[in-house]
Amino acid sequence: MTETETDIHTEYNPYKSKILVVDDEARIRDACKIVLEGCGYDVCLAVNGVDGLQRIQEEHYDIILLDLMMPELSGFDVLAQVKSLHPDTVVIVITGYATLEHSVDAMKKGAFDFIPKPFTPEHLRVTVAKAIEYTNALRDIADSRSRMRTMINRLSDGVMCTNQDNRVVLANPTFLRMIGCPAASVKGRDIHTFIDNAVLLDMIHQSLETPESEFAERTQEITVSGANNLSGETVLSLRCSPFRDRSGRNLGVITVVHDITTLKQMDRMKSEFVSTVSHEIRSPMNSVLMQLQVLLDGLAGDITEKQREILTRASDKIESLARMASELLDLARIESGLISQEREKVDMLEIIKDQAAFHLPGATAKSVEIVLEVPPCLPPVLANRRNMEEVLSNLITNAVKYSPDGGRITISASSGTEGLSIQIQDTGIGISAEDKDKIFQRFYRVKNDKTRYITGTGLGLAIVRSILEAHGGRVEVKSDPGKGSTFSVFLPLLNAA
């Protein structure tokens, strides 16, 4: 339990502990009542063992102060009954002749503590307070167990917890339904006796064997048929993580199952929509481009220099329009969360090197130098590879575009507690403070005399930001107008996930 939770519990707990005093001596009963009510407890009295037993059968008490020596029914008999009726009730024995023998005997039979007669009010208060603390702790445990059980049972995700021997500690009804297990409870059973999906079994085994040094949540998607009482297929996303004790030993595995069938269906519909739209927009543009090419090739007759110039410009415009259409579709796909679903362990160093190599010819054409200042290796990130390539590609393209001839682009990378960071630094025209806030907006382009001849759609940085946010990362920019800009990319590490 966290500290906050404990505080809330104590602060708002309206519960008044209930105490029953069973003693045939009126003097003792009354003294106890005065002292304990003074402490804020709810106190009931029973005049002898029989009376006490009846009250115990009718009601639940947190604490019972029990005289051992009573006529008819002795304290020992009452103690035995209490233990069988209410095992969580705490019994404190009051003993008139405080012999060690009786007390030890009572403790053996389940009493929590004993008070020898005669006792001082202070002695009573302290002993009861200690018992109250104990029952409160017991109640807290019971409460949080019940809270947790209700929570887990009500979850719309399937949850299963298994131990080191691959036996079930708990599995909620959703889990059983999702994996198609007809049993109402599988507590204590070996997972192999009711799970037949090899992927899931393998994930649990691997999670259990994950060394302490490595935090790795394993994720997989599986397709099962007939779960959920629905016809057709159900797509489940599986997540397994080991849980450990204080010394870092694996105690077992928590498996969480999420039904992503609807998501997958929407995903497919959206992909088809995107692809249809992309076809409808791009096809006419493509054929216009070809017609212009045919004209430019002189296949439809000779053309003048002026006509060639106009046709070339028209061609360029259509081409950038076609590019914008695909970027827009990319952005739409990223924003609808389609891309970030498919993630893998990605080595950013490899992507940095590939992208730097890919953009080198373009940079060299402008006499712009690309310098890599990267460590020999970087820890992996959990990301979509294509997305990461796009982030790097967009940032490097921009750096080249906005650099004057003879400029220099430095790409550096490092990893630390915050995660992975990648810097793309250029010696270009820089960005004014005013523009800095807006460049990540869609379609925003910096317009001044230096950017007039630089073409673009104004979508590149919006795509970069969308991708990074979908990956739990971010992008920042620092710039010195006239001297250059530095774009910094931050990504969480796989191990810190």
Binding site: V274, S278, H279, V288, L289, M290, D297, S326
Partner: protein, 128 residues
């Protein structure tokens, strides 16, 4: 002039067919045209082409279906099929590029927008 090789262009966009045809004719190929998969099959039966430039998304019978039909036929499986895909690589997850993950058996792929020079290069590679 029957030694000129016959190329069949199949696309539902007549402007595209015309442009490609003009380019091919300028390079001494004979050209046949069709605007959907069914028409294309009729053309193939009438006069067997050496190579087909085949669009993927078309009404009546799409390019994947026609390609599969040709490649599974003993009479036509030797015809070179170049598949035209308008869908950019960005949309790799759609069924239009992967045809539900099935192998299309096409000899080659030409991405749209078509670069006519590159297309000619590929056609000449196949037809020697």
């Amino acid at each position: 002039m029957n030694d000129k090789k016959l190329v069949l262009i199949v696309d539902d966009d007549p402007d595209l067919v015309e442009s490609v045809a003009m380019k091919l004719e300028s390079q001494s190929f004979r050209v046949a045209k069709a605007y959907d998969g069914v028409e294309a099959m009729d053309q193939i039966k009438k006069e067997r082409p050496a190579l087909i430039i085949l669009d993927v998304m078309m009404p009546r019978k799409n390019g994947y279906e026609l390609c599969a039909e040709l490649k599974s036929s003993d009479d036509y499986k030797d015809i070179v099929v170049l598949l035209l895909t308008a869908v950019a690589d960005a949309v790799t997850t759609t069924n239009y590029t992967h045809w539900d993950g099935k192998n299309t058996l096409a000899d080659d792929y030409i991405p749209k927008p078509i670069n006519l020079e590159k297309l000619m290069g590929i056609v000449k590679d196949y037809l020697g």
